[in-house]
Each structure stands twice: as structure tokens, then as C-alpha cells.
């Protein structure tokens, strides 16, 4: 099968073009042996199917990162290259084009974002550019679909230029680029668009912070609104209306009790299934990932996709960079952290975007200790909020303080390097909705594929341990810590242990213990910082490896002991 590669700089609308070229059947995968991801789809060319690969964006073929190395490796395996060029940024993009033309793979150039050139006062002589490059050049607009048909039609004309030239060094190549640009492009004066005014504002040190706070606030509001909507109108009706009857029949068939019943269905609460308290593999085990977490994941990934394609994320990363650097991270670590507020699992999975091992360790540890997931937050606000907003603020404040302090300490304690930020800030653009939809689907299905088996597997193991009484033994050992250091009654041990399975359910149990406001603040802070839920635990093990997992747990235990005791002293 013919293999077509889409190659270009980052932020040139490559994915929108990809989505126009291919149908709905697209696959996301990792390049073998790496965490560098790419997407693949299919295009019908006459009678034949061709494979289209969206190669990770790269500025140069002289790699300086793992992602760029992958780009170069993938180039060797392609039959045709569609070089996606940002028409509004011709000079920088043609540098990559000339590098592609030095190779032996046929090239066709898509002069993308063509629709943007006019209001930016840029005009390009396409025929002349085609003549100078020696390969076909087709103006395209991925968002509207303009030029796609012509691009596909002229695909057979893709070629290695006759006048192909190998440049001795980068300076010579830039000289040639400058020469080409001066012959084909002319600029005219134009006014500042309101997009650009917004761009300037969000890069401004003070304006940027205000905009960031607004964006974050809107994000959390949207995630709660959409997440709770999906739970209330879709997830709960499906589970209670369709799944509960099936489970009840199974419960009857299993005789209403016994080891297998306990593992699969769990305990019946008031003669029925209670998805937050039964703790069976098929009851709570399925409900956690699909009913309670997935709705928030969908909402979160939707917002993330939009912010990504609008071009806001790099700006947020820049704004956060100075603070994050003091915690041993860099600005981009804000993205996994925000995701962690939805569910820690995708948050920790997203730490793969960070470059060094040190950064990934610190980011994952901080997320699992200091970032409460959406389900837990809803319960904290519900339960602690009854005692007054001030107490909720104490919980969040304590979590934030531990997040900062642990980060400061880990930055000094963990060896390794923390690279500086170097990132292009793309102009704001309206998001291509097709791409947003496709990405949402790829990410959500990826979450189901990766996280669901993990959650189910661990719920199974924990259920067996629970039935065997292992947790009761742990509870007895931990009791002195509870009463002595944290000033909590002994009964709180059960919810804290359950928190390993489901933190929001644990909060519900705390609510029924009749704790004082002060005890509620301490116990919910401890619950949030303490062992992450099972799914997060397993993801941590997978992303960090067992050795670093134990280090992270060590940090966690020390942190929670100190924070709980401090609260007990101060409050």
C-alpha cells in the first residue's frame, strides 16, 4: 500500500488537513519503542487505498529531540511526502521544505492556512514558488476544505525536483530561503485584528494572569457542568435501569452471598446494588471508571482539545513557567496538572509530554498527592462545605501548600535536569471542530483501552484482600497514628482505607461519622493526599517503574504524616 506522509512545522494546521484527507477510520499509535505518538488514516486514490500518516510536527530534519528523531525515521518509510507549509509564515516553513527536497522521497507542497493570508496582508505567487521549488504547490485551507481536491488530484505529480540541491550548512539554506521568499511574497500594510489584540493581552504579564484565571475558572465550571450532566442523564440511568437488573439476577444465581458473590457483586446494601458502596468487581468496579470518572474525562478532554487547537496552551505554559521551574518542572507541566483535577489517571499519563525523567517523577508525584480529582472535589465541597466555605478553603489551601512545598523539596532532592522552555506561540485560531471531535474520540477510547483493564484488575485484587481481612490488619496498625498524631476518632480508619478504592465514597462515609468541622478538614486533607486510588496507583507504577513508585509513596507518607499533624496542631 502506498504510504503518504504529512510533514510540516508544528501549528501549521496539519491535523485539520489530515482529517480532510482521511475518512473517519483513524488510528492513534506510538512509534515503536517511544512515547512519541502519531495518527494514521486512509485515503482512496482511484481504485487503491493509500495510508496517510500525520508525522509529529518538526522544525528541522536535524533532530534535537526524540520527537524530531522519530520524524526523520518515519521519513525513510514513506513513498510520498505532503509538505504542509504555513502560508502566513513562509520563510521559516520553507527551511524545512528545502531540507525535505534534499532527500530522495517525492514531495508535493500544501500551502496551508491560505485563507489566513489575505487578512494578514500577504500575497504569494504560487506559480513562481512552484517553479523555484521544482515540485507542485497547492494552496489549501484545512478548516474549510479548500484546495483538498486539487491536492489529491496532483498527488501523482509529487516528485524529487530535477534541480535538487544539497546545502552544505544551515546558513546556505537560509540564504536560499530568503532568496525564494523575496521573489514570491509581497506584504501590504494591514490593521491589527482583534485576535491579535487578545494575543498581546494574554502574553502580557498581568493581563495574561487575569485571562488565565478566567480560562481556568471557565474550564472547571464546564467540566463540572458537562460531567455531572453526563452522569445524571446518561451514566446513572444506564447503570441503574439496565445493569442493576442483570446484577440482581446474577446475585440470585450466586446464592446472595459467599466468596465469589463478594468479589463479583460485593455486598448488597438494603437488599440492592449500591454502586458507591457495594465494591464488587461488576458493580462498583465497572461504575468507577465508566459511570463516575469517564463523564469528567470526556468533558476534560473536550476542553483540552479546544484550548489546544485555539492556541492557548503554549501561552498558559509560558505564564506558569517561572513558578513551575522552582518546583523542578517547566511550564508545560501545567497541562497534566490540570488534567489531574479531572482524574489523576490521565493526568499522570499526560506527564509523558515532559522531557526529562526528573520532571515526570516530580509531576506525577505532585499530581497524586496535591491534586484532588473531580469526584473527590465534588464530595469535599458537598460534605465539608456544609460546615462553611472557610473549611473547604482550608482543605484546598493545605493541598496547595503541600503541592508547592513538596515540589520545592523534590526539585532539590531529585537528580536530573529540567530543560528550559523553548516554544513557538501560535496565533489564536478558531479550532477546526472535526479535529476537536476526532481527538476527543481518540483520547477517550485510549483512556477506556488503557485504564479500564487496570481499574478492573486492581479492584479484583483489592476485593480479594479485603475479603481476606488484610485491610483490617492494616487498620489496627495505623490506628495510633490516627488518634495520636491527627486527633481523629478510630472509626475514620475504615473510610481512609476505603479511600484506596474510591475517594469520593470514602468522603461519603466520613460524612456519616458526625465529625467536628476541624476533624472533617483534617480527615479530608489526609484522604486527598494519602494513597491515591488504585487506578492512579497502578498508572504510577507503570509510568514511573516500581522503584520510583516506592519513592513516590515514601514522599506521600511523610507528607501526609506532617500535614495531618500540622493541621491538628494549628487548627
Amino acid at each position: 500500500m502506498m504510504r503518504i506522509l504529512l510533514v510540516g512545522n508544528p501549528n501549521v494546521g496539519k491535523s485539520a488537513l489530515f482529517s480532510r484527507l482521511t475518512g473517519t477510520h483513524i488510528i492513534a499509535s506510538n512509534y515503536p519503542g517511544t512515547t512519541v505518538g502519531f495518527t494514521k488514516g486512509y485515503l482512496k486514490l482511484g481504485q487503491e487505498q493509500a495510508e496517510v500518516i500525520d508525522v509529529p510536527g518538526s522544525y528541522t530534519l536535524e533532530p534535537s529531540s526524540r520527537a524530531e528523531e522519530v520524524t526523520v525515521e518515519m521519513l525513510r518509510e514513506g513513498d510520498v511526502v505532503i509538505n504542509v507549509v504555513d502560508a502566513t509564515n513562509l520563510e521559516r516553513n520553507l527551511n524545512l521544505t528545502l531540507q525535505l527536497l534534499e532527500r530522495q522521497t517525492p514531495v508535493i507542497v500544501a500551502l496551508n492556512l491560505w485563507d489566513d493570508t489575505r487578512h494578514r496582508g500577504i500575497s504569494i505567487d504560487v506559480a513562481k514558488l512552484e517553479e523555484l521549488l521544482g515540485v507542485p504547490v497547492v494552496p489549501t485551507a484545512g478548516i474549510t476544505g479548500q484546495g483538498i481536491r486539487e491536492l489529491v488530484g496532483r498527488l501523482p505529480e509529487a516528485r524529487v525536483p530535477r534541480n535538487a540541491r544539497i546545502y552544505a550548512n544551515s546558513d546556505e539554506r537560509w540564504l536560499k530561503v530568503g532568496d525564494i521568499v523575496s521573489q514570491v511574497q509581497s506584504l501590504s500594510h494591514r490593521h491589527h485584528t482583534w485576535y491579535e489584540r487578545l494575543e498581546d493581552a494574554s502574553s502580557h504579564p498581568v493581563g495574561g494572569i487575569i485571562i488565565a484565571l478566567l480560562v481556568l475558572f471557565a474550564t472547571f465550571w464546564f467540566v463540572r457542568f458537562v460531567g455531572e450532566g453526563i452522569i445524571g442523564y446518561i451514566a446513572e440511568p444506564i447503570f441503574e435501569g439496565l445493569w442493576t437488573p442483570v446484577l440482581m439476577k446474577l446475585s440470585l444465581a450466586l446464592g446472595g452471598g459467599g466468596f465469589l458473590h463478594n468479589v463479583l457483586i460485593g455486598e448488597l446494601v438494603g437488599g440492592g446494588i449500591d454502586y458507591s458502596q457495594s465494591f464488587g468487581l461488576l458493580s462498583t468496579g465497572l461504575y468507577i471508571p465508566l459511570g463516575a470518572v469517564l463523564p469528567y474525562i470526556i468533558a476534560f478532554y473536550l476542553v483540552l482539545g479546544i484550548l489546544e487547537d485555539v492556541g492557548y496552551l503554549p501561552r498558559l505554559a509560558v505564564l506558569m513557567d517561572a513558578i513551575m521551574h522552582r518546583l523542578g518542572l517547566h511550564g508545560y507541566a501545567i497541562i497534566p496538572t490540570i488534567l489531574g483535577f479531572g482524574c489523576n489517571v490521565p493526568g499522570i499519563m499526560a506527564t509523558r509530554i515532559l522531557e526529562s525523567r526528573k520532571q515526570r517523577f516530580i509531576a506525577s508525584t505532585l499530581i497524586s498527592i496535591g491534586v484532588p480529582c473531580a469526584a473527590l472535589q465534588a464530595m469535599i465541597i458537598g460534605v465539608v462545605g456544609k460546615q462553611g466555605v472557610a473549611y473547604v478553603a482550608m482543605v484546598y489551601g493545605s493541598l496547595f501548600i503541600s503541592w508547592v512545598v513538596i515540589g520545592l523539596i523534590l526539585n532539590r532532592a531529585v537528580r536530573g535536569f529540567n530543560p528550559e522552555l523553548l516554544v513557538e506561540i501560535p496565533p489564536y485560531r478558531l479550532p477546526p471542530w472535526r479535529v476537536v471531535g476526532q481527538k476527543l474520540w481518540l483520547r477517550v477510547s485510549g483512556f477506556i483501552r488503557e485504564a479500564l483493564p487496570i481499574v478492573l484488575g486492581t479492584v479484583l485484587v483489592v476485593n480479594i484482600l479485603y475479603t481476606l481481612g488484610v485491610f483490617r490488619a492494616i487498620a489496627d496498625i495505623a490506628a495510633p497514628v490516627l488518634t495520636g498524631l491527627w486527633g481523629l476518632p478510630k472509626e475514620t480508619i475504615a473510610p481512609l482505607v476505603i479511600g484506596f478504592l474510591r475517594k469520593d465514597a470514602a468522603m461519603g462515609m466520613l460524612a456519616s461519622l458526625g465529625l467536628t468541622a476541624r476533624q472533617l478538614v483534617i480527615s479530608s486533607t489526609v484522604l486527598a493526599m494519602f494513597f491515591p486510588c488504585v487506578a492512579t496507583f497502578v498508572i504510577l507504577a507503570r509510568e514511573l517503574g516500581v522503584r520510583d513508585l516506592f519513592k513516590a509513596i515514601g514522599v506521600m507518607l511523610v507528607a501526609v504524616l506532617i500535614m495531618g499533624s500540622l493541621q491538628n496542631l494549628i487548627l
Binding site: T60, A322, E420
Partner: protein, 89 residues
């Protein structure tokens, strides 16, 4: 400290809004190559758009590209300011 001529300073030292020409990058091969790919190289006109608080990244414009570079990198990019240019090339 970097010794520079009176009209040359680092990107970190430039004031917001100032424009100049990149004359050199005092960094390793890797940094030079990464900046080169983004179009920031000797001879290029750049404008400093903003800096962030607490020695955060510096944002600059080269042609129509905006790039954010970490403060440490910004201290390695030497720029010759426009208004001191003795003559236009």
C-alpha cells in the same frame, strides 16, 4: 558575565518593545540548532514582546513567528539594538 559592546546586549536585558538584530547565540550546538529551526539566527531581526515575572520566559517576535524562550536561553542570545546601528545595511 558576558562582555559586550555598548550597543549589544542579551535578549534578557532588552526592554519590552525594543527591536534589534541577532548577532550570536552563546550556547551549545543543540541550542543553536533548535533556535535556528525556529528561525532565530544571526542576522535575524527580532522584537522583544514581553517578559514574565520572576525571570520567566521572554517572548519575542521574528517575522510573523512568536517564540517564548526560557530566561537562561534569553541570556545567551546576543542582540544588537536597532537605534544604535551606525548605518543601515
Amino acid at each position: 558575565m558576558i562582555m559586550h559592546q555598548n550597543n549589544q546586549l542579551t535578549l534578557a536585558e532588552m526592554k519590552t518593545g525594543q527591536t534589534g538584530t541577532v548577532v550570536g547565540v552563546l550556547g551549545g550546538h543543540g541550542l543553536i540548532r533548535r533556535l535556528d529551526g525556529l528561525g532565530i539566527r544571526p542576522g535575524k531581526k527580532v522584537t522583544k514582546l514581553s517578559s514574565t515575572l520572576f525571570h520567566g520566559p521572554v517572548i519575542l517576535r521574528a517575522d510573523s513567528t512568536q517564540v517564548a524562550v526560557g530566561f537562561g536561553m534569553a541570556r545567551k542570545i546576543i542582540v544588537e539594538l536597532d537605534k544604535y546601528l551606525p548605518r543601515t545595511p
